[in-house]
């Protein structure tokens, strides 16, 4: 990797009492890359991601996100990242427009920028007729696309997506990934956890976590070759079987 690295992780660890949720993980992610973060339920993906977002303080190790240290400069990181959690977390009792306006405002966008963003997003997501309806009235797939768009409303360096496509149909998932590619082309680094193996194929590089450790990290092609498999599914099963932790 000769390109500029926006995430540099070295020996990052998080334990809750005796339980080591994330166990000395190390990796780098470069600018504009789509980085897939795979693992069975309970493997430690979400915990690792929350540390990188500054939502959770690591127990030990080192990590730089967008050039800032996760221990000392969590708030500076937050200015430069977007985040979309597993649980849908836009305000359901606000309209689409109001949500965009709110998050834009919080990230310090000017009024004009917010107006432009709103127009762009509404047009891009084909929500012209719905911009004044409450978010709770939208179908799940639309909500998730909206949540993603709001997460990058301030054009962050990196966006973290935690299982963004849970529970949506394949067509919508496809559309969602188009949004991800768009973002990546605009230079936004995408860090995404998923357990859909077809999605793993869309990533530039994939890491697989088992029991809090990173067992494998390579391009999807490279992984399939190393583990002598025809699909990512097979790679994943081979690795995940080693897991000791239950769900």
């Amino acid at each position: 990797m000769n390109k500029e690295n926006v995430i540099v992780v070295n020996g990052l660890t998080k334990s809750f009492g005796d339980f080591v949720a994330v166990d000395h993980i190390s990796f780098e992610v470069s600018k504009g890359e789509i980085f897939g973060f795979l693992g069975a339920n309970g493997a430690g993906k979400t915990t690792a991601m929350r540390m990188l977002c500054g939502l959770s303080t690591p127990t030990s190790g080192k990590a730089m996100v967008a050039g800032f240290d996760v221990f000392r400069e969590a708030e500076k990181i937050k200015q430069n990242i977007g985040y979309m959690s597993q649980k849908f977390s836009l305000y359901e009792d606000l309209t689409i427009k109001e949500n965009i306006q709110f998050y834009g405002g919080i990230y310090g966008l000017t009024k004009k920028q917010i107006q432009e963003k709103t127009d762009y997003l509404v047009a891009h997501l084909h929500l012209q007729n719905h911009q004044n309806s409450l978010v709770k009235s939208l179908p799940l797939g639309w909500k998730q696309k909206l949540a993603f768009s709001v997460a990058i409303v301030h054009d962050p360096a990196i966006v973290f997506l935690d299982e963004p496509t849970g529970g949506v149909d394949p067509v919508t998932r496809r559309e969602f990934w188009e949004l991800i590619y768009d973002a990546s082309e605009r230079g936004i680094t995408v860090f995404v956890t998923t357990h859909y193996m077809d999605e793993a194929e869309y990533c530039h590089r994939v890491s697989i976590m088992v029991d809090g450790r990173i067992e494998a990290l390579d391009t999807p092609k490279g992984l399939k070759k190393t583990y002598d498999s025809v699909s990512m599914d097979e790679v994943f099963l081979k690795l995940a079987r080693k897991a000791v932790r239950g769900e």
Binding site: L55, K78, K87, D93, L94, G105, I106, Y107, G108
Partner: protein, 372 residues
């Protein structure tokens, strides 16, 4: 500052989007402020009296007549057996039994003294005490009446007479409403402010939106201020409605300066909202937040002097009232509205309440953790 503007805009939108909550915010305090003070009247009157008369003489009739005409007592049972009268106490029909022995009249005239027996239902000690005192007083008056009829000279030599004149200030009509309305308003405002803020942050925790906030570079105090200010304004609106009801509904004309009450109320609201926010930062669920605030508020309100005098509480409880914001507010509202106390009279109250506001809100900011 711009961030704060967006936070406030969002909070207000959410508040006005839910009409059922809004209705409750305005309706419950209004209705209760109209109804509760009418019901809250301590004055001991309408005491139910049962008489067991074994004498049936002219004197007993005169005495009973005198008791009835005092306006404090209602004769609910008149019988010839003590047992019947006591049964009416047991059934809660009567509060006091007056037993008049046989030969009552005869004893007064011939033996120079006769006894009466009073049995008082003392489950409510206060009512029992005052009721018995009133009754004794009437009987003594009747006694004097008989005496002056039989004896020519006044019973008490004039040179030792002390004339006691009593005047009651600040509430010339001696109306309970003057006392209760301001305090009920204070209580309702407290309940509303604490509950709403206590439920607010924790609600964002429950539905998960707080994660999205925590991952933004928003400042902690901006976030808390964004929650504090909307409810502060709402509280002042409710307070104003309350004052209008007090002034035009109950015709209570504040003796003191209303601006002082507003000033104090605005500071008080900040502290009580801070308490709510603090609870909200500790709670995991709305249910917990509600239970904790209910627990604290019930203690604050019951010990705040709303219903029972703080002076009568044991010393250790009186010390606890120093930590009770509600007692300061009830105190100040009553002082200014009824007595016309000025800023210099309540300056200690003001300092303490500012202290509470700063302490509770800073604690809330400190305890709101963006990073776990």
């Amino acid at each position: 500052m711009r961030v704060l503007k967006y936070l406030l805009q969002k909070e207000f939108r959410q508040i006005f989007r839910d009409p059922s909550i809004l209705r409750i915010i305005f309706m419950i305090p209004t209705l209760q402020l109209i109804i509760i003070p009418m019901a809250a009247d301590y004055e001991v009157r309408n005491i139910n009296l049962a008489v067991a008369d074994h004498d049936h003489s002219v004197y007993t009739q005169q005495m009973i007549q005198k008791i009835k005409s005092s306006g404090y007592f209602k004769l609910v049972n008149y019988s010839s057996t003590f047992q019947e009268a006591v049964t009416s106490i047991e059934a809660d029909k009567a509060d006091i039994v007056l037993e008049i022995p046989a030969k009552f009249e005869q004893n007064i005239v011939r033996e120079d003294h006769a006894s009466l027996f009073l049995a008082v239902n003392a489950v409510n000690g206060m009512k029992a005490n005052l009721g018995a005192a009133y009754l004794q007083n009437i009987i003594q008056n009747y006694n004097n009446q008989i005496r002056t009829k039989w004896v020519q000279f006044p019973p008490i030599p004039p040179q030792t007479n002390i004339n006691v004149s009593v005047s009651n200030w600040f509430n010339p009509m001696m109306s309970y409403k003057y006392f209760m309305v301001p305090a009920v308003l204070a209580t309702l405002l407290t309940l509303l402010g604490t509950f709403l803020t206590a439920l607010n942050i924790v609600r964002e925790k429950e539905i998960g939106t707080i994660e999205q906030i925590n991952v933004t570079p928003i400042k902690k105090y901006h976030f808390i201020l964004g929650k504090l200010i909307p409810f502060w304004i709402l509280g002042l609106v409710v307070l104003t409605i309350g004052f209008l009801i007090m002034r035009f509904g109950y015709q209570i004309h504040p003796v003191g300066n209303m601006l002082i009450v507003y000033l104090f109320a605005s500071l008080y609201l900040l502290s009580i909202l801070g308490l709510g926010l603090l609870i909200s930062t500790y709670a995991d669920t709305q249910q917990q937040a509600m239970l904790i605030s209910f627990f604290l508020l019930m203690i604050f309100i019951m010990l705040g002097g709303l219903f029972t005098p703080i002076d009568s509480m044991p010393a250790w409880v009186q010390k606890l009232t120093w930590l009770n914001p509600v007692s300061y507010f009830i105190d100040v509202v009553r002082m200014v509205v009824l007595k016309g106390s000025g800023l210099s009279d309540i300056k200690n109250h003001i300092f303490v309440i500012i202290g509470f506001a700063i302490f509770l809100n800073s604690w809330a900011v400190w305890n709101y953790k963006k990073t776990s």
